[in-house]
Subunit: 407 residues, 4 copies
């Protein structure tokens, strides 16, 4: 069999080698290729026009880092079989295949109560069936049922290759260069102790820096107020679209989008690669943008205003406060919209959004970062760092958002 | 009036200031915002996954370079009025608004015989009407009817801000870092002599490097064989879709796409902001990808195979030769497709594409780069460069492409 | 008078313009040019071979950032006269002219009890005399006697242009890219309130990131154990050289180095541009390296071993502990050196070095970073940050170093 | 034996691994460490203040690229034994150890008629003796006496790792970013055919770009007029210093510099690791700068003016012309210096310098770049490139320099 050797040009990490045909085939699978049509940062390009990178590109980057991490661990004497190596590469490549377009938006509208990890797993199992079980090790690693737990931690954990790639990549494409987390240095200092992924003690400053850079990226990018405003507007748009659909209105939509607009899907619908999943893998950013443009001239005032707002970047205004927004302010807004557009109170609610955002970036219970000392002892970073206040980092900081249509 | 001051984060040039409300309003216009949904490099992400940047982002970058160029010329004593300054910024911002999605593809299929510059101008005039003539200077500069010709040359010429931005930006996002053209150095050496944009003689090496980097980008990126293969497949897909539509088949399509599938539009249709133009500004990358996904399961063998090829990256295979492909090889291919899929000869032709590509990157007649010496004389780069063989650079190199469905 | 316009190529910030002849002349002064022969990071190239950048280059970079900061403040409506603008540029350019080679080393050996700021001021006054007082504003800003205090804070304070440049530049040249502090973003958010430099509240995450990146740079670069080991060895080498000199030994040295080896200079010696200062401005990295090479073959065992160690990178071994090193361990080492080299106990002490290092990177009393809220109130970052534990950042962390000649 | 594993932070290539103890020991040898005190670009920092990088750093970078190139060739099925691998790494590491400080300057003054390659070889043989022949393979590769010739070509040839590193590195540290040659892409396309290093045909554009970037670097950096002016001034300074020394004047100088000032060394002096070579390995940038500073206040008018010019950056003015400078212009200058300083005609000649510079960057006879086609044929780039005019590239372009002391 010929070798399908490929090198991918990545502006972040340089040349990325696809190590073998097995990995090449995973990348070529339609479920992976679909991620090419889903932007990593959803609506963030409204703020950072360079942030158009896709989940596909991120998956390739995470695979590259996985390969680097495995090389480091091997050099430090950890045994990793070729089967495990391929499994880990496939697992990280596939870890995001369950994502829909604008994940956050969808989870609040069309695909509620279903986690993307669950869908990822369903799709992996589908692929595994197609390929006669050759993805079993990858699935076991992803599911944390594989004996060598550190492989799972490389896919999903405080310092997994997913995070190391997306923080670095998002920093690169947004241009928020100080968010650079130094992934190469962190990877060089990874080790395994008692089957747990740990970091050599001399890497403690890199870990502190990683935690703070992540925090910067959260507030500067992921929770940037304009991006949140866009998200709230998109959520309300889709809610209205679904409401109209359920009322019998025929909105323009691709078959996949139409399915989710007109059905209340549950996890059972997704299982066994049923109708829901078949439609889901057809859904991506394009379906939503295509629909929004058409909806902009829909007779329904609410739908058309919201859709046009998304398309022409006339986004909700947003306020962020440390205390809850008073009911009165909201009422005032609703009143004004009723008067302005001659709509009902219920319809007016689509023009406002209230939310609180909490970031708990470091969760001591679930996910700790172990620091390995030369004497073989391991301390959690919250104990090992003499400076960083992990108590505070772990503290949920709650902020209240009030987003609304501009006057 | 409040100042809508904005700073845009650009990973290529750092912070970009939007200098005033006029420019801000141009950027916010729906015709500009639409460019956010059109990728600069169309199908190149099949080869360079990072190259997802949009025509909007490019336009912002070109505006930044224009501002830098005007500052340089002003420092060198050239008079530029605020009106001209704004006009030049607006002209470069709007220079691409006539682009459709996958420009090359569209020009061969749905919007034939109409240049994107023509559409840009039509749209600018539409905006100018909306804004009571405040864009007239920008339009005159774009049209080369403004007295100070060098302003037009900054928008469109051998060394215009369009090229300086896109070569730099495409180099950045593809990761082909050696394609970097040194835009900052070139801009510092711009000057005006006899109303023509020229380059100071000490900049001659930068110009030589610019011409060669451009050449590298052409062969490494713009004419990369996989990107060309994707383009050929997309062209054939749309041709088939139109053929079926004209035969009365109802294909899934957004209203905008449906319009162009079912009409043979001419320039007259576009004039006066008629139906064609109204649909055109609704058309972007999303309409095409949405349709391709649905068409993948269409009963027509040709359409579904081609569409699925685009969606799942099962692209045409492509051969590039220095001599024409023989008719026999093409016939053999057609035969095999007929047998394999039970289709007609005519239908089989959709599975092959023949083309020749010629690059004439330096056109001495039309567009020369003047080199300004300290004694005030100006020589064309083709004379000034003692090394670069402009004869050769100007020579059309023809290559023959043969693209076809894989066995 | 002709304009001596110059553009300097800086790999960190791109092109740097020298804005006028006054600034150009400051840069050309021998006191500034001397900084071209003093590396910013002294002995750090033993660890980071790229970190060869000079104090001159740093000064140019800091001037660039000062210009950017002044532009930002002016755009925000702060009045800055041309005289003040030039004064601030000159002050930041000259802020380091009192540095000697390997500052830390010299302060412990040849030029003790004299701060480099004192010498900078003496040299500025000398220049001011030469130039008939045209540097008076710069000196007043440097001395914090100028009415507009924020100008001084831009030169010397928690967020001065000195730090913003050196952290960014050191991060760049060492390759510790995650130390990038985002200087451009911080500068865009500077403002002045009640004559104090403050940061807009939306910049709070950038400030937190700045403080943590600085911390990373301290431990990863400035206090890197190998760099500290080299420093300790260099200190001991110079101590021995001086001891031998005072005993009448004629060591090879440039006149400037010879002066400091054979004299115990005090601040009075430096005042009035006396002999000490005249020799000081002749001293740079080259004098020390030249001498070390010659001393490598000196008959004195201690001097030659230490010098050769510096020259051939056979550096002290170093241990870093959280508790003091016991007297016994030190004694053991001294004993072994006595035996090995047949030297006295006193001589053996040159082969060990004990030190404690404390970093107090944030000093609440002296230097706070004010965060400016939209309502006009200002809070210190230690109060404003809900995450960063400034208490801890301000806490002195003490570490004990034990450096010694390898077996 | 313990593994001396080391990772070096390189801002250009990221982390560089030192692969084994043998390579580590080569790097630690005093002959290599000495290169830490010799700047790669000599006097170019007068123009590009960031270009302080050393020949040591360059050697490490070239070693990294060698390792990458060997990996590529191995992946393509070329056999390379561990002995050869180490030999190639050691050869490229040591290729520059024969360089003195300011090589060009020295070759015209203190160490004439002796090529640095000859000295490199002498020093390698000295090291080989110390190490009982373990460097023999490296020396054979360096000398082109090793059977597998392509290994030599990786060390010294049109596309050797020396050039690939220094062009990339010089581009990085000067900030002339468009000089980036794309070393990674070129290396990926290297192959061996009939024991010759060749480039796969799809790499042809990279090679064209490499040749043009090299040309840019020559004129923009290596032959930059200010750098050439500084070089001419330094040459004249050293000539005068030697003249005075031979007349019996005792100038300040380190023993190594003193040796070369007072002797006319020949190759025989260097052989057998004699006195000349022992002094040579003690000589570096520091000796020259230390002396120049002291000479600045020497009573000899010529020596002091030239030395002070170097130290305080009051460099020769330089004119570059395409025709020879007339004898009259030179005479006029000499006359004016005689009058101005009351010096003899002979002495006045030290204040002028005439030279012609020719760049022949591509030498078809000696060193061709073979392009390997899929059918196994190899064409020289001069034939393979349909655009690049190698005739012209190979043509010597002569320029005449006239440098002289400013009025």
């Amino acid at each position: 069999m010929s070798i399908k050797r490929k090198i991918i040009n990545d502006p972040v990490f340089g040349f990325i080698n696809i190590p073998n045909n097995f990995v090449y085939d995973v990348i070529q699978h339609p479920f992976l290729q679909r991620l090419n049509r889903i932007r990593q940062l959803g609506l963030a390009p409204f703020v950072y026009p360079g942030a158009q990178h896709t989940r596909f590109h991120h998956s390739i980057g995470a695979m590259f880092l996985m390969d680097e991490a495995l090389k480091t661990l091997k050099e430090k004497g950890k045994e990793i079989t070729p089967e495990e190596w391929n499994g880990a590469l496939a697992a990280i490549l596939m870890h995001d295949i369950g994502h829909g377009p604008f994940s956050h938006v969808l989870e609040h509208t069309l695909v509620t109560r279903i986690q993307h990890e669950t869908l990822s797993l369903l799709l992996m199992e589908q692929m595994n069936k197609e390929w006669n079980g050759t993805l079993q090790t990858a699935i076991d690693i992803f599911n944390d049922t594989y004996p060598k737990r550190f492989l799972h931690q490389l896919v999903s954990g405080q310092l997994d290759m997913d995070r190391l790639d997306y923080l670095r990549r998002d920093s690169f494409f947004t241009g928020v260069s100080e968010g650079n987390i130094g992934s190469a240095r962190i990877i060089k200092m990874l080790d395994v102790k008692d089957d747990n992924l740990v970091v050599e003690s001399k890497g403690i400053y890199s870990i502190e820096n990683f935690l703070m850079s992540r925090r910067l990226m959260y507030w500067q990018v992921y929770l940037h107020k304009t991006a949140v405003a866009a998200e709230k507007m998109m959520i309300n748009t889709l809610r209205r679209a679904r409401e109209l659909t359920l009322q019998g209105e025929q909105l323009f939509a691709s078959p996949a989008l139409a399915y989710f607009l007109s059905n209340e899907t549950t996890i059972t619908d997704f299982e066994n690669y049923g109708e829901a999943l078949r439609h889901f893998v057809q859904l991506d950013d394009n379906d939503l943008w295509s629909a929004l443009k058409v909806w902009s001239s829909h007779p329904d005032t609410v739908l058309s205003i919201l859709s046009e707002g998304m398309v022409d970047r006339k986004l909700f205004k947003i306020e962020i406060r440390e205390e809850k927004i008073s009911g009165e302010r909201v009422s005032e807004h609703l009143q004004s919209y009723r008067k302005r557009f001659g709509i009902s109170e219920h319809e007016a609610t689509y023009f406002v959004a209230l939310d609180s955002v909490a970031t708990d970036m470091y969760d001591k219970q679930d996910d700790s970062i172990g620091i390995l000392y030369k004497d073989g002892t391991v301390k959690d970073i919250s104990k090992a760092s003499d400076m960083l206040n992990i108590e505070l980092l772990a503290k949920k900081v709650e902020k209240y958002y009030f987003a609304y249509l501009r006057a």
